[in-house]
């Protein structure tokens, strides 16, 4: 399915002009990134960075992308949309000043909020040289995820629909969008930021192309792809050939309670890497599915970038040496009509599993498993004075240790990036609870020569009754260790009733909480790296002094004896 035309071998181009154009294109996408962050309305954009800015060539191949942005978007979500648009309209029917959008599940294969907007880049003479595209998480597009059972319950689908034509808005389409969202003010605000970014970016690319001439500019774009490809091939070539596998499971799809297999295979052969997802679970009943491009290809590319090309700017060339085997109908290659509201739920575990396969091949890069779940946590209801409230407070957890140091965190998952947690002082001013403590969760990390990162423990004391929705996965299959490191603890939610009764909950919808109850969210830690027996005694002592590990855990995991607070082997 992933068949992209390989460009003709680039003509000889002087290397300095090439570099100036390359820096110029990346600088334009970063500048538009800053522009979107500044002008967007919803916190999804300026706090979660749930967007990406990209430039494609005239065939829709990603050439340059902003350096920030969410990992799942870096894997060419914008190029996928542009190529569908090209199939729909052809190059000739994309006029200067046209702007199109696409969130269609059959194309993007993710939840419908993720909407790519793009505009053709044409020279003043009318020659098509590329597209400027921005993927933004639209705050609301209707629908009823996460209770959906097919994509039609999840909102409005727009497949390669023009919203502007030749520099003028198409009012009818804008009205359709405006009348199909619960939050028209915010959405239209975000759309105008996205639109302004596309147009400004387009004009800057034209300026750059004109400065060096269109033939040179085209050659530069093609060469950038070839160079990225060569860089990626060189790195893969340095890895030992072989077939590497890992198997783990997700707890369930949120509907039943059957574990979902995640079997992944990676083949390194010469300068190519193949990710084989044939062993993945079939499409699920719950809305945790994604399509071939939005799920399968995306997770494979994200893992590939983590493993072999973290510092290479993403473009289509970089991913040419990556092959994907993924039959249709799997959880990451679901049918076009499958429910996808929580499409990214499996991503952290899938990405983590692909990384784990290469434990023996590149021990210096691979880490212990991370806590690996979105840890969705939501308290909502009605205050005593009748006003509604709704607080989302997703968990951050520990990351795995690596060959040179302890794991870090708590951070959000491998499918997140620069996503910040919500300050408690802000929460307490808006929501009817008081946080009694917010601390690192001792002993949550996996032991090892290098210990995993710690999860956290957050204790909420409810002032008003409410409902709780939680979605903590990887509780039956905890974050693994690497190279002899131990596994970490999973996350959980503990509800302590005012009556003294205690319940442990991991996934719940509409779970009743009473005023006076205490709810504790504990997030998972990261896996350890290397045998615990090899851990430096001074590091064990420091962890004891700091309370990262308890005396019991030190004795159990590291076999030390503790006398008056001093650890001895």
């Amino acid at each position: 399915m992933n068949q992209l035309a390989k460009p003709q071998l680039a003509d000889k181009l002087d290397p300095i002009t090439l570099e100036v154009i390359r820096h110029g294109l990346i600088s334009i996408s970063n500048q538009i990134d800053a522009n979107i962050t500044r002008t967007a309305f919803s916190p999804y954009i300026y706090e979660y960075k749930d967007f990406a800015v990209g430039i494609t060539d005239a065939d829709g191949q990603l050439v340059a992308q902003c350096t920030g942005g969410m990992p799942p978007f870096v894997a060419d979500s914008v190029g996928t949309a542009v190529r569908d648009g090209l199939k729909t309209y052809g190059k000739d029917r994309f006029f200067h000043g046209d702007v199109a959008v696409c969130n269609h599940a059959a194309v993007q294969g993710q939840h419908l909020n993720n909407t790519v907007m793009y505009t053709p880049i044409r020279t003043p003479e009318g020659e098509l040289i590329g597209f400027f595209a921005i993927n933004v998480h639209w705050i609301d597009i209707g629908g009823s995820a996460p209770r959906s059972t097919d994509i039609f319950m999840e909102g409005l689908q727009l497949r390669s629909v023009k919203i502007w034509s030749k520099g003028e808005p198409i009012e009818e389409v804008m009205r359709i969008i405006e009348t199909n969202t619960r939050m028209p003010i915010e959405l239209l605000g975000d759309i105008s930021a996205q639109l302004a970014g596309c147009l400004l970016g387009r004009d800057q690319v034209v300026q750059l192309a004109e400065k060096y001439g269109v033939p040179t500019f085209r050659t530069a774009m093609a060469t950038m792809l070839d160079q990225a490809e060569a860089a990626a091939r060189a790195r893969i070539l340095a890895l030992p050939d072989g077939t590497y596998e890992h198997e783990t499971f997700l707890d369930n799809d949120g509907e039943g309670d059957t574990p979902i297999p995640v079997r992944v295979k990676v083949v390194i052969a010469g300068d190519e890497m193949t990710v084989d997802y044939s062993g993945l679970a079939e499409q699920a009943k719950g809305c945790v599915n994604s399509g071939y491009f939005g799920g399968g290809l995306t997770t494979a590319r994200v893992a590939f970038k983590y493993l072999v090309a973290a510092d290479e700017p993403a473009n289509e060339g970089l991913f040419r040496p990556l092959k994907l085997i993924l039959p249709p109908g799997k959880i990451l290659s679901a049918e076009d009509t499958a429910p996808m509201g929580n499409y990214s739920m499996p991503f952290p575990t899938v990405i983590d599993a692909v990384i784990k396969t290469l434990e023996k091949a590149i021990p210096e890069r691979v880490t212990g498993g991370h806590f690996g779940t979105h840890s969705g946590f939501r308290l909502y209801g009605r205050r005593p004075d009748g006003r509604n409230f709704d607080g989302h407070d997703s968990g951050h957890g520990g990351w795995g240790a690596c060959a040179t140091h302890d794991g870090a965190g708590p951070f959000r998952t491998m499918a997140h990036g620069d996503t910040r947690l919500i300050p408690i002082e802000l929460q307490e001013s808006l929501l009817p609870y008081r946080v009694e403590s917010f601390s690192l969760r001792a002993d949550s990390a996996g032991a090892g020569k290098f210990r995993g990162g710690l999860g956290f423990r957050k204790v909420y004391k409810m002032i008003a009754g409410c409902f709780m929705q939680t979605n903590l996965d990887r509780t039956k299959f905890p974050p693994w260790g690497a190279q002899g490191g131990k596994e970490a603890q999973s996350g959980r939610v503990v509800v302590e009733r005012a009556t003294g009764e205690t319940q442990i909950v991991c996934k719940a919808k509409g779970f009743k909480i009473e005023a006076g109850d205490r709810v504790t969210l504990e997030t998972g830690g990261g896996g350890g790296y290397g045998p615990p027996a090899e851990r430096d005694l001074a590091a064990i002592q420091r962890d004891l002094d700091r309370g990262y590990i308890s005396a019991d855990a030190a004795t159990r995991d590291y076999g030390v004896t503790i006398d008056k607070g001093v650890a001895r082997r």
């Binding site: 100036v20 600088s27 915010e186 160079q227 959000r412 620069d418 996503t419 002082e425 009694e436």
Partner: protein, 681 residues
């Protein structure tokens, strides 16, 4: 004879500028920075300039002491005292990974490790009501522990203290009493804004440098007084204003960008005098290039600053001038990656070993080496001839990267050197675009005001890249940071979280709070500077109801709901391109800036006309725009009279800097002896 003096301690040199108000006479001098004892470098400058501290009435001082302590982790052994349950706020931070694909990403360690973060029972709610009273007995016991651990400073942070600081103040007072000789600071004396991590991080940062800054300033003051200094010592704050010694000792964190701030103040002052409303201040030094915007005479001030950068560093909630910095300075290294792609920076050869041409052991080609190879620097007249540059060494270093790129021989090295400059221009232009775009402004509407050793060398090319029509180079661009410090006013910023729908009641309450803040600020400036002529600027952080981020709206003189609303909508529209007439607006915070004017030197007297740093004549200079070496006229900058007009290509030399005028550009010496370059097509 009496002088006002400004001293800027930089990484390589300590710069001193002295100005005699009566005679209108300026003296510039510099001396190597003395790392073991900074005061010595300052006294060396006095000696070199044949001045004595006795003659100085004011001494304004900027230093990189604080930022260096954070980056090199050379601060105090500090402890944190915080609310029961919250000692890990400092370590968990905001849980984000700004570098999304780094599997091994780690944030810098917190300034205070977990074993020295102590909890005490107390709690306020979000309204500022006491939920749990402060446990004084437990606090007293903690003081014993802190004493036993030989802690040098203590930061106090309590949850929701922004709403009511009573517990925090009580605890800080008690700890000061119990721990004589230990530096004690609490979060709400630094900021009254919410967000627990940012406030904890700020107070921890303050405690971390408190003892060091106190002892530095006390010894500077004592040493100067020992040499007969009887004037007033002021420190340069990151907000662009002067700070008194007492205030600096209480809030040393306010010095975090004390060093680079001077140039921005100077750019603002020159802009005002020359009638340029909108300026991009551009400073290129040895390791980085920095830029900041001055719009309508004001530079924008950010209320969150990240020490050691956003990617790994920690936030400081203190007003810091909004500066964008990129790794492109004279010492930035040009290198090839595995695919033979040419990069410039961010690694820098710094001042030691420095560029290859400095002959101090540098081996990697830098931006300065490229400038030398292209004839843009005069090897015999660098720093007025104090350093003779090695052109051949620079050329050979550049050949090392030119040849893999397919550029052979001397001609090829020239092409590669041109490439190094072209790439650095793109990087610097990116920074300028970023700072202007972030404020919704177009760089073409600005004047590019360039200083620092490298600013004048690169500014014309940069202006072409950005389509900026005019470049201005002030006198003494190499000393400009110190010059700017002479031009600073006293300034005090206060901020307070203030939430609520914008209506008659809240506008009235805001007015009362502003009036109290003004009273407090006026009293402080009166006490610290003896100032009576004080003026204020008021700002409100506002947003539409239900939004999650705010814009900072100037509200001075706006007293009715309608006026505040109009001000909010005007700013909102500028930033977002549209405004919503129907939606309600709400307040989030109030900010007050108070200024006390200081007597400024006469800008026309600042050029040091006695400097003769160039032999004039002509030399071969490479210009990227025409792709060849051409003969360019060389001028001694200060030999040119006001009103002098010339055509490019031209080189204007002076001590510490070189200005390059392109072949299609023209230039003129302006009324303050500034160079104005007009970029032609």
């Amino acid at each position: 004879m009496s002088y006002v003096v400004a001293v800027d301690i930089g990484g390589t040199f300590t710069d001193l500028v002295a100005y005699d108000h009566e005679a209108g006479k300026v003296t510039y001098t510099k001396s190597p920075t003395t790392y073991d004892d900074f005061v010595k470098g300052i006294l060396d400058c006095f000696d070199k300039a044949k001045l004595t501290p006795e003659q100085a009435t004011f001494l304004n001082h900027g230093t990189t002491l604080v930022i260096n302590a954070y980056i090199q982790r050379k601060g105090a052994k500090a402890a944190l005292v915080t609310t029961q349950g919250f000692r890990d706020v400092l370590e968990i931070a905001r849980g984000n990974r700004p570098d999304p694909f780094d599997l091994h990403y780690q944030r810098d360690e917190p300034l205070i490790p977990r074993e020295r973060r102590f909890e005490v029972a107390e709690r306020m709610d979000s309204q500022g009501n006491t939920v749990t009273p402060l446990d004084i007995k437990a606090l007293d016991a903690l003081a014993e522990t802190i004493k036993r651990e030989k802690v040098e400073s203590v930061a106090v942070f309590f949850m929701n203290s922004y709403a009511n600081p009573a517990h925090e103040e009580q605890a800080a007072a008690r700890l000061k009493e119990l721990l004589p000789g230990v530096y004690v600071t609490h979060s709400t004396e630094l900021t009254r804004e919410w967000y627990e991590y940012e406030r904890t991080s700020t107070v921890a940062a303050n405690a971390y440098v408190g003892p060091q800054v106190n002892s530095y300033i006390r010894s500077l003051d004592a040493d100067l007084r020992g040499k007969g200094f009887e004037g007033s010592l002021f420190m340069m704050g990151s907000n662009g204003g002067l700070l008194s010694v007492d205030r600096t000792c209480r809030t040393p964190v306010a010095l975090v960008e004390s060093g680079p701030i001077g140039g921005c103040i100077g750019a603002g002052a020159y802009g005002e005098a020359l009638g340029f409303k909108n300026i991009i201040a551009f400073d290129m030094g040895g390791t980085t290039a920095k830029c900041a915007l001055v719009e309508n005479g004001r530079f924008s001030v950010d209320s969150v600053y990240y020490a050691n950068g956003y990617v790994k560093g920690f936030p400081i909630k203190s007003p810091v001038i909004d500066i964008v910095e990129v790794g492109a300075g004279g010492g930035s290294i040009a290198w090839l990656d595995s695919q033979s792609r040419l990069h410039v920076g961010p690694q820098s050869a710094g001042s030691t070993p420095g560029p290859v041409c400095y002959r101090r052991g540098g081996t990697e080609p830098t931006i300065t080496d490229a400038n030398l190879v292209l004839g843009r620097l005069n090897p015999a007249k660098f720093l007025g001839g104090e350093l003779s540059l090695d052109t051949e060494g620079a050329l050979n270093a550049i050949r090392k990267i030119a040849e893999p790129l397919g550029y052979a021989g001397v001609d090829g090295a020239t092409r590669a050197a041109d490439g190094i400059l072209a790439i650095s221009t793109v990087i610097m232009a990116g920074a300028i675009r970023q700072v202007s775009v972030q404020h919704g402004l177009d760089p073409r509407d600005f004047v590019l005001f360039a200083y620092g050793g490298g600013g004048p060398l690169h500014s014309a090319a940069l202006a072409h890249e950005l389509s900026i029509p005019t470049v201005v180079i002030p006198p003494a661009p190499g000393n400009f940071s110190a010059v700017g410090m002479l031009l600073a006013d006293a300034r005090l910023d206060l901020a307070k979280t203030f939430t609520g729908l914008m209506d008659g009641d809240s506008v009235g309450s805001a007015e009362k709070i502003f009036a109290e803040m003004e009273k407090e600020a006026a009293a402080a400036l009166g006490r610290e500077f003896g100032a009576t002529d004080i003026f204020f600027e008021r700002f409100a952080e506002m947003r539409y109801v239900g939004q999650r981020h705010n814009i900072k709206v100037p509200v001075s003189g706006l007293s009715s709901v309608a006026e505040v609303r109009a001000g909010f909508e005007r700013d909102y529209k500028r930033r977002y391109g549209h405004a919503d007439a129907k939606a309600g607006a709400e307040f989030q915070a109030l900010h007050l800036s108070a200024f006390a004017r200081q007597r400024r030197p006469d800008l026309a007297k600042l050029p040091d006309v006695s400097a003769g740093a160039s032999a004039g004549g002509e030399r071969q200079v490479w210009f990227s725009s025409i792709g060849k070496m051409v003969s360019a006229k060389v001028f001694d900058r200060y030999a040119l009279p006001i009103g002098f007009k010339g055509e490019g290509p031209a080189v204007l030399e002076e001590y510490g800097s070189t200005t390059i005028v392109g072949p299609t550009d023209s230039f003129e010496i302006g009324p303050l002896k500034e160079i104005r370059i007009f970029c032609g097509k």
